[in-house]
C-alpha cells in the first residue's frame, strides 16, 4: 500500500509523456508532408541564429516592454524545470526534497529562493500579459483572426501559468519543515501566515495537494502544447535553425521551371522527342502551391511555430491600410489546414483521401494574396524567423502558372514584358531615348 503514490506517479508520468510523444510523432509526420528543401548547409550560421534568436531572444527585445516580460516568463520556464526534476525524483522514489541533501543546504537555499522570486515575477508578468490581451486595446490582439480559439488559447496558457506558479509557492509555504528551516523561502514565507489557523494535518494535506496538482498540471500543460500556439516554446529552436539564410529579397528560382525554360530556349532540343527507353514517366510537377503538401517542410514547420503574436501583421503595409491580407492569418490558416489534412490521414489509415478542400480559396483567398507588396516587413518582424511571404509567393505562382488567374492589369503587365521587354507598352527600340531628352 505504501508504494501506491509512487506507482500512481510513475503511471501519470508515463501517460503524460507517452501521449505527448505520440502527438510529436504526428507533428513530425505532418511536417514531412511538405516538399524537400535543403537547409542542411551553413551549419555554424544556423547554430548562431538559433542561439541568438531562440535561446537569446534577440528579436523579442525589439519591442522592449513585451520583450522584457516575455524573457521573464521564458527564463522562469526553463529554470523552474530544475525544480520539476526534483519533483519527479521525489515522486518516483518517495523522497522529499532530494536535492537538499545532494546539493547541501546553502546552495539549495539559493536555488529554491531564486525559483521563488522567479515564480513571483512570472506571476506578475503573466498578469500584465493578461491585462494587455483582455483589457488594453492593443490592435494586434483584436484582429479578426484572433476571435474564438486563438483568443481563448492565449488566455488559457496565462491561466495555466498563474495556477502553476501559485501552486509552487503554496507548496513551499505549506511545507512546514521547509518553512521552519528558513532556507530559500523569500516569497513563500509571506504566504505561510495565511495557513496559521489550519491544523498541521490540513496544512500537510494542502502541501501534498499543491505538490500533486503542480506536477499533474505540468503534465497536462505539456500535452496542451500540441494543440496550442505555445508549441513555439519547443519549435522556436528548430524553426530558427532551419530558417532561410539568403538575403530576404532573393526568391527561389523554381528548378522545374528552369528545366523547361532551358528546353524552350535551346535551339537543338527536340520538343517532340520521346523519353529515352526505360526512363521513368515523369509526372509534370505542379507549379506553385494550392495546398499544404505543395509547400516545403520548413514552411509547414513555420506554421506550427507561429505564436500568433501578430507582430508581422502589425508591420504589414497592406494590413495597416485596411486590406484583407494578414501574414499572421496566412500562418494560422496553413497550420489549420495542415492539421485538417493530418486528421484526414489518421482517419483513413495513413492515406490522405481527397476532401474537396485546399488551402487556397477554402482558407486563403486570392484577394489576400494579391495585396502583398513583397516588402518583407513580416519576415523582418517575426521573433522566430517565420517567412509568411514565401507562402504568399508560392500561392501566387499557382494562381498564375496553373490557373492563369492573375488580376487583369497584371496580365497586361506580363504581356508587355513578353512582347516589349518592359512592363509598359513601349517599343524596345526606344529604350535609350532618355539620353537625349532634357
Amino acid at each position: 500500500m505504501e508504494y501506491l503514490p509512487n506507482i500512481f506517479f510513475a503511471l501519470a508520468l508515463a501517460l503524460g509523456f507517452g501521449f505527448f510523444a505520440m502527438n510529436i510523432r504526428k507533428l513530425s509526420r505532418n511536417i514531412k508532408l511538405g516538399k524537400d528543401v535543403n537547409r542542411k548547409d551553413r551549419k555554424p550560421e544556423r547554430l548562431k541564429n538559433m542561439m541568438m534568436i531562440a535561446l537569446g531572444q534577440s528579436k523579442m527585445i525589439k519591442r522592449p516592454f513585451s520583450g522584457f516580460l516575455h524573457i521573464i516568463v521564458y527564463v522562469g520556464f526553463i529554470i523552474i524545470n530544475i525544480e520539476v526534476l526534483e519533483i519527479i525524483i521525489d515522486g518516483l522514489f518517495g523522497t522529499h526534497r532530494v536535492f537538499q541533501g545532494v546539493l547541501g543546504n546553502g546552495f539549495y537555499a539559493f536555488l529554491i529562493g531564486f525559483f521563488e522570486i522567479l515564480a513571483a515575477l512570472v506571476f506578475v508578468a503573466v498578469v500584465i500579459f493578461w491585462l494587455r490581451r483582455n483589457v488594453s486595446n492593443i490592435k494586434r490582439f483584436l484582429s479578426k483572426e484572433m476571435k474564438g480559439w486563438p483568443k481563448s488559447d492565449g488566455n488559457n496558457i496565462l491561466y495555466f501559468e498563474m495556477v502553476l506558479m501559485s501552486l509552487f509557492l503554496v507548496m513551499n509555504a505549506t511545507d512546514t519543515v521547509f518553512q521552519q528551516a528558513g532556507i530559500g523561502n523569500p516569497i513563500s514565507q509571506f504566504i505561510e501566515p495565511l495557513f496559521d489557523s489550519f491544523s498541521p494535518e490540513s496544512i500537510h494535506m494542502i502541501e501534498r495537494s499543491a505538490w500533486w496538482i503542480h506536477i499533474l498540471g505540468i503534465l497536462v500543460f505539456l500535452n496542451y502544447l500540441y494543440y496550442s500556439k505555445h508549441l513555439h516554446i519547443l519549435l522556436a529552436f528548430p524553426n530558427t535553425y532551419f530558417a532561410n539564410l539568403n538575403p530576404k529579397g532573393q526568391f527561389n528560382n523554381l528548378e522545374s521551371v528552369t528545366t523547361e525554360v532551358k528546353l524552350m530556349m535551346d535551339p537543338d532540343a527536340d520538343p517532340y522527342a520521346m523519353p529515352a527507353e526505360g526512363a521513368e514517366e515523369v509526372v509534370p510537377e505542379k507549379f506553385g502551391a494550392s495546398d499544404v503538401a505543395d509547400l516545403h517542410w520548413v514552411q509547414l514547420l513555420n506554421a506550427y511555430t507561429c505564436t500568433e503574436c501578430g507582430r508581422c501583421t502589425s508591420a504589414c503595409p497592406a494590413n495597416l491600410t485596411g486590406k484583407e491580407l494578414s501574414p499572421r492569418k496566412i500562418m494560422m490558416d496553413t497550420r489549420d489546414r495542415l492539421e485538417e489534412v493530418g486528421r484526414n490521414i489518421d482517419a483513413n489509415k495513413g492515406v490522405f483521401v481527397d476532401d474537396g478542400k485546399q488551402l487556397l480559396n477554402d482558407y486563403i483567398s486570392p484577394e489576400e494574396l494579391w495585396a502583398c507588396t513583397s516588402c518583407n516587413a513580416c519576415v523582418e518582424e517575426c521573433p522566430v524567423n517565420i517567412d509568411p511571404l514565401s507562402i504568399i509567393l508560392d500561392m501566387r505562382r499557382y494562381l498564375v502558372m496553373e490557373e492563369s488567374a492573375a488580376p487583369q492589369e497584371l496580365n497586361m503587365m506580363m504581356t508587355n514584358i513578353e512582347n516589349n521587354g518592359a512592363p509598359w507598352q513601349y517599343n524596345q527600340q526606344d529604350r535609350l531615348n532618355w539620353k537625349d531628352e532634357e
Partner: protein, 259 residues
C-alpha cells in the same frame, strides 16, 4: 548627353569599367528618366568609363517573378544573362533596387554572376576612392528625410550608403518613425505598381507619405524610381507639392554639384 552602349564599346574593342543597368522605369518613365540622366552626369563628372545595353536591355523579370510568373521571369533572366555574358560584363550598377536585387541575388543561380551595386553604393565608392566630391554648400541646412526602399533595405541590408551620401550634402537628415529595417513599403513592390490596390481604407503610399510629413521635410529623398513615383503621388494627394520635393539621391548630388 553621351551614353555609350556596350555594342559601340565592343566595336571599338573596349571593355568599360561598369555596366549601367538602366531598368524599365529609368528608360521609359518620365520622372525616372531624370534620375538616369542625373546619375549619368555623376558618372561623367567622376570620369567613370561606363556603358549601357541600350536597346539590348530587357526587363529583368522582377515584376513578373513577384507576380508569380516564374516562367516569364526565367525567360527574361536567361535572355539577359546571354547578352550580359556575351559582353563579358563583370560589374553592374543600377538606380533601381528591384533590378539590383534580381541581378545580384536571383541571376547567379541561372548562370549570371556579376558584382552588382546600387547607385548609392557605387557613388559612395567613387567618393572613397577620391574620384568624386560632393559640394556640401548648395543644399546646406535643408531638412531631408530618407525613405528606405524595401528591396534595398530589408531585402539586402543596405541602409547606410544612402544615408552617408545624404549627410555629405550638408543637409539636415531626419528619420521617420519607421525607418531602416522597420521602414514602411511605398506600396509599389511585389508588382503592385502595375495594378490597383485591393480594397482597404487607405493607399499604402499615402500612409508612407504621412510618415514622411511628420518629419516636416523640405525634401523626401528616395533611392528607387518606384518609391519616387509613389511618394510624389502621395505628396500630390496631400497637396503639399509647394512645400515638399521628392528627389532621388542621384538627383540631389547632381544638383549639389551643379551638374
Amino acid at each position: 548627353m553621351i551614353v555609350p552602349t556596350m555594342a559601340e564599346m565592343m566595336a571599338q574593342g573596349k571593355q568599360p569599367e561598369v555596366l549601367f543597368w538602366v531598368g524599365a522605369a529609368g528608360s521609359y518613365d518620365d520622372r525616372a528618366k531624370k534620375i538616369s540622366r542625373a546619375f549619368v552626369k555623376i558618372l561623367h563628372q567622376a570620369n567613370v568609363d561606363f556603358a549601357v545595353l541600350g536597346t539590348e536591355e530587357s526587363s529583368t523579370g522582377d515584376a513578373a517573378k513577384r507576380a508569380g510568373n516564374e516562367f516569364l521571369f526565367q525567360m527574361q533572366a536567361m535572355m539577359n544573362i546571354e547578352v550580359l555574358n556575351g559582353y563579358e560584363v563583370k560589374k553592374i550598377v543600377t538606380c533601381d533596387p528591384h533590378s539590383f536585387n534580381t541581378l545580384k541575388n536571383e541571376y547567379p543561380e541561372l548562370g549570371g554572376k556579376y558584382e552588382v551595386f546600387h547607385h548609392t553604393q557605387f557613388i559612395q565608392n567613387l567618393i572613397s576612392e577620391g574620384r568624386l566630391k560632393i559640394d556640401d554648400t548648395t543644399l546646406k541646412g535643408k531638412r531631408v528625410t530618407f525613405h528606405d526602399p524595401c528591396y534595398l533595405g530589408r531585402a539586402n541590408d543596405v541602409y547606410e550608403s544612402p544615408r552617408e551620401l545624404i549627410k555629405r550634402l550638408g543637409v539636415n537628415l531626419t528619420e521617420m518613425k519607421r525607418n531602416k529595417s522597420t521602414a514602411l513599403c511605398c506600396g509599389a513592390g511585389g508588382a503592385q505598381m502595375f495594378k490597383d490596390a485591393e480594397k482597404g481604407d487607405k493607399e499604402v503610399n499615402v500612409l508612407r507619405t504621412e510618415d514622411a510629413l511628420e518629419t516636416k521635410p523640405q525634401i523626401i529623398a528616395t533611392g528607387c524610381p518606384y518609391c519616387n513615383t509613389m511618394m510624389t503621388d502621395g505628396i500630390k494627394f496631400k497637396e503639399k507639392e509647394a512645400e515638399v520635393e521628392v528627389k532621388d539621391i542621384a538627383e540631389l548630388i547632381a544638383e549639389a554639384n551643379n551638374l
